[in-house]
Symmetry: C2
């Protein structure tokens, strides 16, 4: 298969981990006789630094022309505590999601048996946990109108959703549930928010066309408890943008390491794959960042193009590195392996 | 001291647990020579049922005239899955908060040593956890304009904050931090939301008048992870309404039981005290609901009126019941004690 891949290394440890993912994809090309081409572009703080724009036109163009985007990470603490800076790295990521129409962010949460002791939760609580979050990614309060009055004393953000925005991701989530354990949980705040009541109405209606899928509803505050108290109750979780941001990060710690979790952001024309960890600026350039999440995002990329055998080869190589303890220090404090060595080991085992 | 207390038992197990709190306050009256008067009124689903209104005028009037309100619980599943019902129990609670100007919801999260094994988190993770959440309660997306277009296909909620709304609760939170471990963490989403950027600006400015308090900022998605990964890092958490709803419920499971956690909602004129657990309709009338959260909310009420010795007597009696295992089955599956017996034991020990 011929595929054009846009590489967006971004900030912090993004470039280092993405490099390992590319190594693994090159191993896949060789082993399975594919032909991937890679073109790199700037995004985030580094793009602000070099081009004055967190999403330069050239980057967007490259992404639109590519078959898929592999993303590193975004963000620089320099901008976080400066509420007045008008340009921020995150705008690059948000604009990219919007421009590419990536309306569904898909985050699988699984437990890696060898890492179960790394979890902050007790073993019996997390046993059997295996769910996937479908987070709406181009609507809601992230993209609604923002206002600040002239005096700078009143600020607002609008959370708006249309039936269309809800239904396209709902269909994806129901289909995913059909291929899994036939359960879908909608997380909302329908006892307070008008937008949540629309979500509940639209999703309930769509549920009628998926009679095999058991649908239930959970208020977001209760969901924040249930994910810790009993995570194995979930199969597919569907939720809006802001709740998805919070709940999926909360879910990401269950497995014991955020350094292992990947995500896919998909739309009708484009798809983007990225580790869910951030730019982790303290680790930048130290060869200590865990590359596995980025490598698993490459596996999700392969699955997206139905290259299931190839994806499995990547996943198995990752499994081998975990089993043999060829991992970065975040997973095993006594480990002497760096980002590059772990990447090499996994690529060599594909 | 003479105090007029409005009792709002509400729905589900609310009446049962509130009754135990009143028992304990009566014991305090006797032991410490105070004179409290109690007047009861309807709120929530039961008020809809009897008066067609989740917050009848008579209830509001009683609350306004009282020195403080003791609240049971609110909510009935009958309304939750009916997005079309125009009247919902929760409206009673929201209207009460707004009408009484209860802008700050204060939720202490502590670990009870005898219950440490009930926590879903590992012992070494929760050791030393002791923080208090200040959640803004009368602003933000809860109370902003809600819209639904005529076709019922587009819905929105506005999240708006003014400098004044932020600064009044920020001062309370800084003062609390000064009396505790001198640390304040603002949770927001300033990398995306305009309203969060206003929070960050206003809180940073106010922080200058509290030079002893170390102020830091955390994005809400990161906060949702940190609360599980390392809860003992927190002292006072300050946040807006919606984030506070989610984060405080997440925080409530750390200690091993939501049945023990109380909260105070305060404004410049009124104050209301309630358990943070909900109406728990499945348990209604079974004499199994845990009354301790409601009893501890009575302790917070006493502290609010500077009756510290009295509050301590209540807390010590609760401690005794936990230590002796005179608790409801949620805390100890083999327990044979009911809601009433636990309430009696605690009241007798004041
Ligand atoms: C960087 C930030 C804007 C982003 C978000 O909030 O969506 C991140 O937290 C994520 O979840 O991908
Ligand atoms: C019942 C509901 C409206 C309420 C809220 O969301 O504020 C509850 O969850 C709470 O936290 O007190």
């Amino acid at each position: 298969m011929n595929l054009n891949i846009a590489l967006l290394p971004g900030d912090g440890v993004g470039p280092e981990v993405l490099k390992q993912a590319v190594k693994c994809l090159q191993a896949v090309e060789e082993t399975f006789n594919h032909n991937f081409t890679y073109k790199e572009a700037l995004v985030g703080a580094i793009a602000i630094h070099k081009k004055g724009n967190p999403l330069p036109d050239a980057t967007l163009k490259l992404c639109k022309e590519a078959d898929a985007v592999l993303f590193g990470a975004i963000g620089d603490p320099k901008y976080d505590n400066d509420p007045n800076s008008k340009i921020r790295p995150e705008q690059g990521l948000l604009a990219l999601r919007k421009e590419l129409g990536l309306f569904a962010n898909i985050r699988p949460v699984q437990i890696f048996p060898t890492l179960i002791d790394n979890s902050p939760l007790k073993k019996d609580i997390i046993a059997g946990t295996d769910f996937t979050i479908y987070r709406e990614l181009t609507g809601g309060i992230y993209f609604g109108e923002k206002k600040l009055n002239d005096e700078g004393t009143v600020a607002s953000d609008l959370c708006e959703y249309s039936e269309k925005e809800i239904s396209r991701i709902a269909h994806l989530a129901f289909k995913a549930a059909k291929n899994r354990k036939n359960k879908l949980t909608l997380i909302d705040k329908a006892n307070v928010l008008e937008s949540s009541r629309l979500w509940r109405k639209v999703v309930a209606k769509i549920g009628e066309s998926y009679p095999d899928v058991a649908l239930d509803f959970l208020f977001v505050d209760n969901a924040a408890m249930q994910i810790i108290l009993n995570p194995s109750q979930f199969d597919v979780i569907l939720t809006e943008n802001m709740f998805g941001d919070i709940i999926s990060d909360e879910g990401s710690v269950i497995g014991g390491s955020i350094g292992l979790l990947a995500s896919a952001s998909v739309g009708s024309e484009s798809a983007m794959f990225e580790p869910i960890h951030g730019s982790y600026p303290q680790a930048k350039g130290k060869d200590i960042a865990n590359p596995i999440a980025s490598i698993l995002s490459a596996a999700m990329f392969l699955e997206h193009f139905k290259l299931f055998e190839e994806a499995m080869a990547v996943r198995e190589a990752v499994g081998k590195s975990l089993k043999k303890g060829i991992v970065t220090p975040d997973l095993d404090a006594s480990s002497k392996y760096g980002t590059n060595q772990v990447g090499d080991f996994i690529a060599d085992n594909i």
